[in-house]
Assembly symmetry: C2
Homo-oligomer: 554 residues x 2
């Protein structure tokens, strides 16, 4: 994590300087001037010294974005108003990327796949005002990649000219938090690999570094796990709705090259009804009715956590799934365990009677065995908050905890001494507010009403009510999309540009100004559209071209 002392200096600098127009997330330290520069027709990006192939690919992508974004500046008249400023400007013909002296050129992918706290994303970017070469320097290729991403956001376009207005630019940047994530559920409804890749693209543009892939759930099992092919064969929605090991490797590679680590989640022991399709022996209360008695949503069904055979099956499954991703993180879920399901399950009751354990004791054993399988694979377990706040299980002290039910629960998780990831439904759930999806329920609204606006998540305080020691347990946060009412059709509109708000919150730190953020967030959305991501309009275009004019008190 970026040192806090240095962070304070950056924040102070930030307040004193005008922000560059279109940067998102806002760099921690930026100085800009008022000199326009035109991009040379022969503009080149070079990497000093040897460079890994994914950095070379990233350079090609950056050149492509700079050429193809063709984003007119968001002012009345668009880029036409800048012609006078840029028409006689000097040209910028070169950007050079260099690692700091002594640093070794590992791949972006390998740097991104380190444990969150070990990721070095800091970079320095300089664009001189005299047209001499721009530079990005960093201690890692991952830092160079973050700098490249920023560099592409410096430019606007008008009638054949790509230009910037605010040279010289000097940026020193590094994230406030090492974990900046986005979670996608691919089990309630299936998403083709291409949708996930497009989402990874957009994530990288706002420097999100963690894809939390909630890949399976009670409704479907679209993941082919080596050694357990029957799970997806029987549990996917269709033979074509399966992520093969090749697909997973493709996604992980695509993510890695964009500075994103992929954390898989196999939610256990709840949210596992679909496993009964191939392994009825391991699932209690499969599709039991009324579903509301046995689960938070249909279909009911949970792993028989008191069964030694089921515990060993689960441990084997998790170990096999863990091998699919080089991430140091793996989530075993642990949310919404339903006790009625186990009370009604004769096999579970027999197991408990035979061992003399309570359900909680059995859960403890189940968790320890399954987590040991992950620890043996070198993974840090990640769990939903109930595993700390509701259940009485012994967790490895390095376990990361996802706080989801409410931001009110953050304090208790921190008091329990666990590192935590902000994922609270009251700030970061992208699916709230769209009405209830349960059938025959005409007045049903979503359980987590209202809709979470970008302003809501942007205004979140990651360390509210925490002591300094507790605050150090916060490793970051993320937006999440549960897909009861989503699919490929509305993935982009549901996520973008809203999820960019947490990306900036956890990169630039809290306390951002909503009024100055909005014009930049418009630019995020407009630029995403230019790049093929269907980010929605946050306001009428009239407002987008007139910063502040549609503020409540304007």
């Amino acid at each position: 994590m970026f040192p806090r002392a240095k962070l304070l200096v950056f924040t102070a600098l930030l307040a004193a300087l005008a922000p560059a127009d279109a940067l998102w997330p806002q760099p921690r330290s930026i100085e800009t001037g008022g000199t326009p520069l035109r991009l040379s027709g022969g503009f080149a990006i070079t990497v000093a010294g040897s460079a890994p192939s994914d950095l070379h690919a990233a350079v090609q992508d950056a050149k492509s974005f700079i050429s193809n974004d063709k984003l007119g500046r968001l002012v009345v008249g668009r880029g036409a108003v800048d012609v006078a400023a840029y028409s006689k400007a000097k040209t910028l013909s070169k950007l050079t990327l260099s690692l700091e002296k002594g640093a070794t050129a590992h791949s972006i992918t390998s740097e991104a796949q380190k444990a969150p706290e070990a990721r070095d994303e800091a970079y320095t970017l300089t664009v001189p005002g005299d047209g001499s070469g721009a530079t990005i320097t960093a201690n890692s290729t991952l830092g160079l990649y973050r700098g490249l991403t920023t560099f592409t956001q410096l430019f606007f376009y008008n009638e054949g000219t790509t230009y910037l207005l605010n040279a010289p630019v000097h940026i020193e940047d590094a994230p406030a938090y090492p974990y900046r994530g986005f979670m996608l559920d691919t089990a309630r409804n299936y998403f083709p690999v291409s949708d996930i890749k497009r989402t990874l693209d957009a994530m990288s543009w706002v420097k999100i570094n963690q894809f939390h892939w909630h890949v399976v759930d009670s409704q479907s099992f679209p993941l082919e796990v080596p050694g357990y092919p029957e799970l997806s064969q029987k549990g996917a929605y269709s033979a074509s709705s399966v992520y093969s090991p090749g697909d997973v490797a493709d996604i992980i590679s695509y993510a890695g090259a964009r500075g994103i680590d992929v954390m898989l989640e196999i939610d256990t022991p709840g949210h596992t009804s679909v496993i009964s399709k191939s392994h009825p022996e391991h699932v209690a209360c499969p599709e039991a009715t009324p579903w509301a008695t046995y689960a938070n949503e249909p279909p009911a069904g949970q792993l028989r956590l008191a069964s030694e055979a089921t515990t060993n099956f689960t441990a084997g499954l998790l170990a096999a799934a863990a091998k699919l991703s080089p991430s140091t993180l793996f989530s075993t879920g642990g949310d919404e365990l339903n006790t009625n399901c186990y009370a009604a399950d004769e096999e579970t009751q027999a197991s408990l009677n035979a061992t003399g354990k309570t359900l909680e004791q059995a859960l403890n054993t189940f968790t320890q065995v399954t987590h040991k399988a992950l620890l043996d694979e070198g993974k840090t377990p990640v769990v939903w908050e109930e595993m700390v706040l509701v259940h009485n299980v012994t967790l490895n002290p390095e376990t990361l905890v996802l706080v989801w039910i409410s931001s009110d629960d953050v304090k208790a998780v921190a008091e329990a001494g666990f590192k935590l990831i902000h994922a609270a439904s009251d700030y970061f759930y992208l699916d709230c507010g769209g009405g209830g999806w349960v059938g025959d329920f005409p007045d049903g609204n979503s359980w987590c009403d209202p809709f979470k606006t970008w302003q809501k998540s942007y205004s979140f305080d990651p360390v509210a009510n925490l002591t300094d020691a507790e605050a150090k347990l916060v490793i970051g946060g993320q937006h999440l999309l549960w897909v009861e009412q989503s699919g490929p059709e509305n993935l982009d509109p549901a996520v973008w540009p809203r999820a960019a708000s947490s990306a900036e919150l956890f990169w630039s730190g809290p306390g951002g100004n909503l009024s100055t953020a909005l014009p930049r967030l418009h630019e995020v959305a407009y630029r995403m559209r230019q790049r093929g991501v269907q980010a929605i309009s946050l306001q009428p275009e009239w407002c987008a071209l007139r910063p502040g004019a549609c503020d409540l008190t304007a």
Copy 2:
């Protein structure tokens, strides 16, 4: 309008019969059997007698949908479970469309562009169980077109076979209400012609017959009106964000061929700020601040209704715009008039002083003059509800009133004796629930929270609290999309399949059952996706394949 006496017979029949699987809107009378039929490889659709070119085109489209929909039935196992049923079934090789004896073959377009009550959309559809030819008969080509639309929904697909399971089918159908609309705002954000055409396609599939095109507003003027080119030249977001007369003709023609009439709206005298860009002399309080004092949303600006010059300008503009569409309807808006704007406008005050009129008297004159211009063009004026409930203006008794503020206002409009269109924000506004769009307003939710679910609009009673005489004033209703937070990126997800709920409500009549509607609405969404419209998932696919299993009490 379909005779009420006959309607009651149909409703009684409906209750006694099982619905066909995938029909939307539900036909008023349907009898089905249990005999499967396969579509013949040489399946042909023929039109008896001479037929207009748009009917021939509609036949080609229907054949294309039947061939290309390739929709697997929404059950566990999809179409594979039907193989035994259809594999030895007889084949259907022919559909014949015939006008009833004595009827004349006018174009679908001309039939659709009649006044709402004069549109004849009734048809009879028969698919015998023995594989002999299917037939559609109607009194008009518009009726034949509606029958064709139904026919395409009868089929499912599995592994090379297109089939239905429920022959013989006999449908007698006609709409409960003659006006079934959808409104799109193209002024807050612009939509390319292709987006509008795709929306018209989807509208036609659920038998919506009225496109209410709220084409201009305060933010932008994307309509080129012959004789008034300066309005769009100065008022469109860009030169490419303009609907030329050719574009409008294209849209009207495309709509007409799909049984849809296009009602243009030029909102007056409010919602006209953008006219100040080309005609500052006609606009009071243009872009005045604070905007909230002078308008319900930025930018402020209203036509100088007390000015004779402005009144004549507006009358001329409306007459010119009215010539763009052959529709019998034209909306002059009339919502959200702000009195502060006029109080602060010296020119308006001078006009009022000179004539001795009150503002309301001036509005009456303005309305009479501008509406006369429309009446002279053969149009029936359409207004938002304030023109009846808030202002003291004399309206032509044939004026149609759009009830938008609240469904609670329906009764008062009916009591005033006006024909009305249901468009209430509490049931039919598709933009509600997505959070506030006004800037610097972190806790702002949308003014019309919560999100309007399909269940909400589907459950609407069009004649609640009305006397029988008042109920006869209800000519139909519509969903509406205001686009402060929409654009091409989320048009389909915002509208579909939700807007299908009012399409069925106003075709099949109120009182539909939510539990039996949901599986059919899933099929609407799945079929729309097969046809290229990004209709969203209403539930996890697990639920879509198991009707009722995700009901609240299942």
